[in-house]
Assembly symmetry: C2
Homo-oligomer: 262 residues x 2
DNA sequence: GCAAAAGTGTTAACTGTACACCCATGT
DNA sequence: ACATGGGTGTACAGTTAACACTTTTGC
């Protein structure tokens, strides 16, 4: 027989006072992209009681801007602050909410959520995506679920709960589209990186091979890179030069785009 | 002394049962673009009791997808159905809500809204924009405010209530960005239109003069136009040819974009 | 016939793409 | 020394931008 655990006060409070503390029927979900060993990954929670993956998400406090709620979720799960975070879509299919998920969570503690509890209503969620440096993340335990986030391959995201897989796919699609006119990499790569590493990132996101030489010319042409006088030694073969992003120019390109279009 | 009017049942019900019918603290606001006499306009409501312009907006019914709520607002205000409608941003600044607007509306009927009424809370709004054919719109009276929408110039949108001006500006910015890789015009122009008319539309949105000949070549190159064997007569000077959009190809371009990018 | 607007064509500049060649490094 | 990956250069093709000329129409 399953051992009956003691419920965490925060979880209990969520049930009892959540409707007073949070914006009703609204949540944020974060698709947090990272890049490691030439694979694009996202942070996900292993939700044990339903045996599925979930996106890290949270509720919006009364009087809290949504962006701040998303940043808070990111901070809670990764310890990372001040990161690029972008809203990309609102998901509002009335059947997307699955009250049984909440029921399963509280069932562990022998609690059955009443039908009229605020958690049982239909939820609309605002999707955010973030790009973060894999090496900087210390996934931390959350009070709510006592779970750590884990990195999972973008290619292995079946078995996600509710509509979370669709949310990730939409985030990926948005990321791909933005790649054409927005700089990418600052938050996905370590401070110093090589041109081949940057190229791999692009190739991974676009799922496409790119010409080494033309890629380099184009990137340099954007004028957002600083070439350093160091090389990445240790690897076999010729040591590639290291680069950093030119912060000012990177930020400007983020706002104004890489091209002027018309 | 001001004449005391009789309140419309729908308005009364909004106050009393709104929290049962609608998603709490959430709304949609629509920036409805139209194009007439070479000027880009949006539909706005003249909110008499506060003497400001407002975007047509509404609440989201329990169990209604947000897109459907936006489409409903559009239909209620313009009589137009099945139109291009796109979510572009969520506005959630905690200070954006202005309860006094609601108070003013009900004050006309001698009603003071209690502080704990659902309308008095902070609202988060989801911004949608639509592009519609100016000539097809019959602005209709709404039950809620007994007001008609009016077309106002994009250049004259000071004096909007709350953060509605910022919402319009963001919509415009989004529209401009999308212009580069998405077809535009189908819903902003009459069925049949001339190349100079289409060009004027682009010039207006981009706020920029374009070369007549290169514009024509580019547009034709997209392959989304049908050239008709008719000309727009009556105007002074040479009669320009009429075009229609090729619906199939237009729809495909909407989904896949005008370019393949990478 | 003239001014203004529209249709059609041409050329030069630029950008992107496809390659070729050389260099550095570990085995 | 050679295989492999990285740095640099060039030439061709395709696209875009700039501009000239002709045609139609109302006054």
């Amino acid at each position: 027989m399953a051992k009956k655990l003691t419920i965490h006060p925060a979880l209990k409070q969520l049930l009892e006072k959540g409707d007073k503390q949070f914006q009703s029927g609204l949540s944020v979900d974060c698709v947090i992209f990272g890049f490691h060993e030439n694979v694009l990954k996202i942070l996900a929670l292993d939700v044990k009681y339903i045996n599925k993956w979930a996106l890290p998400g949270g509720f919006i406090k009364i009087n809290e801007p949504v962006e701040q709620a998303a940043a808070r979720v990111l901070q809670e799960r990764t310890g990372v602050n001040n990161i690029f975070l972008q809203q990309f879509e609102v998901f509002s299919n009335p059947t997307r909410s699955d009250a049984s998920v909440h029921q399963s969570r509280y069932k562990e503690f022998g609690i059955k959520i009443p039908k009229d509890n605020w958690l049982m209503q239909r939820f609309i969620t605002i999707g955010y995506f973030a790009l973060i440096d894999f090496t900087e993340v210390k996934t931390t335990e959350s009070k709510m679920d006592a779970e750590y986030c884990e990195w999972i391959d973008i290619s292995k995201l079946d078995n996600m709960m509710m509509d979370h897989q669709a949310i990730v796919l939409k985030a990926l699609e948005t990321l791909r589209t933005q790649l054409a006119y927005t700089p990418i990499g600052k938050n996905l790569l370590p401070k110093k990186f090589t041109m081949p590493e940057l190229q791999k990132l692009y190739e991974t996101i676009l799922d496409k091979k790119l010409d080494r030489r033309n890629f380099q010319r184009r990137m340099l042409g954007f004028g957002i890179l600083n070439k350093l006088n160091e090389t990445r030694k240790g690897g076999a073969h010729k040591a590639p030069f290291l680069y950093t992003f030119n912060d000012k120019k990177y930020q400007r390109a983020l706002k104004e785009g890489l091209y002027g279009s018309w």
